[in-house]
Amino acid sequence: MQTNIIIAGVGGQGILTIASIIDLAAMQQGLQVKQAEVHGMSQRGGAVESHLRISDSVIYSDLIPKGKANLILAIEPMESLRYLPFLASDGMVVTATEPFKNINNYPEEQAIKDEIAKTGKHIFVDAENLAREAGNLKAFNTVMLGAAANYIGISKDALEKAIESYFSAKGEAVVQLNIKAFRLGAAAI
């Protein structure tokens, strides 16, 4: 079993939170994990991504080879397209619908949707509204994790357990908020 995931977004959006929760879940399941991330300059509002690999046998490369990503999980719609060369022919794109426009040549939103639809297997998630429903916009990333949960290769129970351990230091209220967000995301698809 091997799952390759690219988590994509814009610097400052917190893609590493999602990566850390999946890492934790995988480790708690006794799986191997490799997770390459972007630090430094690009984090200032630039495009950022994390290559995340989970497997029950040894993982060599920290980077996912082209055409081998089972899932692109994007926190921002245009960013889901930037990593298409990595997507496997039967791979899944799960993306938030809310654009992050910090550039003045941001493409037309419908054109982005059309391109995403061309990939065949895709899910649009209105994460902002779902996070609000869960109780806090900050739960945006856990909503996205919930929406992608079927394609991560780890059970939802295990992911929820990881959410608990990830947020436990911040108190029970934050844990519950994120569990709720995760479930709303999972139910939305």
Partner: protein, 531 residues
């Protein structure tokens, strides 16, 4: 023992703590920053009293680590590749003095220049200094190799150079910890002569260093870091450091029966290399960075059996990837989806509300009045002032070069000669250049865009916080030409006037544009709210 998910950088830090270091010395630089940060935040390191404050620059860091080693304790010094250029004088000479307590020099290279000005390959420095070099391929090996490097350093009385690259430093994997070791006792070096590099001593030490090379090579022969992975056929691969991962990825995915020699310790294990290379007549050399060892193995007249970055089997520049390695291994690539043409670039940019923005706005406003509009700048977040909408700076060469390049241009007659530098970069390498300008009475205007932190690497402490005006005064800048303003929109007009006055002054003037980085300010606020 414990297993945990660690970045390569964190694996280095944890291993160093477990190896019994008494201090880490560093100036922040991507991709090496997280090593020192991890030690600073480690409760165990804090409890042990491991020294871990930031140094003013890589040279002072290096020399302090060497001093700690002189005192008999284990020390770690960390920097990014270009930082080693700053510390190069101390580094090369420390190979001649040797060490007392174990000393490991971690240098994080940045092939593909994710956040750097060049791609230099630190292994070349290792060869240049005749020091052992270790280049692990994964996070667990990184942990194990750091512990080994400290032992090696003490056994051989030499600093050990430890090279990682961005990919390893910033990638996480599960790492298993080993039992920690106690710190060394204070035991200052009794070998009085070896540390004094007067010619007579230095010649002697240098001779000894050269004589050690055979021992170092034979240690590589036996090292757990170098090994052969069996396979059949006439084609083979020598994979160095992290390149090993890409080779093995392809070998595993494609089920290739191809022999691989993995090298992670230098100087090269001669026997191992000879035995391996004699057996095959087509050998791919996969190394991250320069074709340093490909060139060496090929020899001057170009032994045809070696392929790699020199003959185009692999790209000459940039970071390796599983895809380029697969192609070099003869694997036909499938066709992949392409990036749709509507996808726009999203370059990094200054944060909203960043003080550098107001500095550049003021500068651009005043420049409209001058025929010559050139700004010498430096390395930090403000380098992003080169991009639209500011287009406000013309140079970024190395730490501190803004000051001295402006001086040179002023000496050539350019007016105004303006330099923009951050507070951390100013104390790192700008001070001495400013002293030159003062001594020569060069007509430069230096703007220190002071946000009280080392912002680009994530907001580490800056050595000159609260002292910049005093420093400038102390090295002789006239007090009336040390001006301070607050870069805010509402002060724009006032700030433009101050700039105008100082640009017109035909001597050294310094303008300190003082406002805290909004990122560190909001982080501090969050931490205070928590309390």
């Amino acid at each position: 023992m414990d297993t945990q998910l660690l970045l390569g950088a964190e694996a280095i830090a944890l291993a160093a703590i477990d190896a019994g270091i008494s201090g880490v010395y560093a100036y922040p630089g991507t991709p090496s920053t997280e090593i020192t940060e991890y030690i600073q935040q480690s409760p165990i390191a804090r409890q042990k009293g491991v020294h871990s404050t930031w140094a003013t620059n890589e040279k002072t860091a290096y020399e302090a680590a060497l001093g700690m080693s002189y005192a008999g304790k284990r020390s770690l010094v960390c920097m990014k590749h270009v930082g080693l250029n700053v510390a190069a004088d101390a580094f090369l000479n420390s190979a001649i003095t040797g060490v007392n307590g174990g000393m490991v020099v971690v240098v994080a290279d940045d092939p593909s220049m994710h956040s750097s000005q060049n791609e230099q390959d630190t292994r070349v420095y290792g060869k240049f200094a005749f020091l052992p070099v270790i280049e692990p391929s994964n996070q667990q090996e990184t942990y194990d190799a750091i512990r080994y490097a400290f032992d090696l350093s003490e056994q051989q009385n030499l600093p050990v150079l430890f090279r990682v690259t961005t990919r390893l430093s910033h990638s996480r994997a599960v790492v298993k910890q080993q039992p920690p070791r106690e710190e060394n006792i204070l035991n200052p070096s009794k070998e009085k002569r070896k540390w004094i590099l007067l010619p007579a001593n230095a010649r002697n030490n240098y001779q000894q260093l050269l004589e050690k090379q055979t021992t170092l090579a034979s240690l590589s022969e036996q090292s757990f870091l170098n090994k052969t992975i069996a396979g059949n056929g006439t084609k083979a691969i020598i994979a160095f450091g992290i390149a090993y991962n890409y080779v093995m990825e392809v070998k595993q995915a494609e089920n290739l029966d191809i022999p691989v020699l993995k090298i992670s310790q230098y100087p090269l294990p001669d026997k191992l290399i000879k035995e391996f290379t004699d057996k095959y007549d087509d050998i791919l050399i996969a190394e991250e960075g320069y074709p340093a060892y490909e060139e060496y193995l090929k020899g001057y007249f170009g032994n045809k059996k070696f392929r790699g970055r020199l003959d185009g089997a692999l790209p000459r520049t940039g970071e390796l990837s599983p895809d380029v390695v697969a192609k070099a291994m003869g694997v036909e690539s499938d066709t992949f989806r392409t990036i749709p043409s509507i996808v726009a670039g999203r370059p990094p940019m200054l944060c909203q509300g960043c003080s550098h923005r107001d500095v550049f706005d003021a500068l651009n406003a005043i420049f409209a009045e001058y025929p010559e509009q050139h700004v010498f700048s430096d390395i930090g977040c403000y380098t992003l002032g080169a991009l639209p909408p500011f287009n406000a700076i013309n140079t970024c060469v190395d730490m501190g070069a803004s000051v001295t390049m402006a001086k040179g241009a002023a000496d050539a007659g350019l007016h105004p000669a303006v330099a923009v530098i951050g507070d951390s970069t100013f104390t790192h390498s700008g001070i001495t250049g400013l002293l030159d300008a003062v001594n020569d009475k060069s007509a430069i205007t230096l703007i220190i865009s002071d946000n009280s932190t080392t912002a680009m690497t994530g907001g580490q402490d800056s050595a000159g916080t609260g002292k910049l005006a005093e420093i400038c005064k102390g090295i002789g800048v006239e007090e009336s030409h040390i001006r301070t303003f607050v870069p805010l929109k509402k002060n724009h007009d006032e700030n433009v006037i101050i700039l105008k006055e100082e640009l017109e002054y035909k001597g050294v003037s310094v303008i300190i544009a003082q406002r805290e980085c909004v990122q560190t300010a909001s982080r501090k606020k969050r931490q205070e709210n928590k309390k």
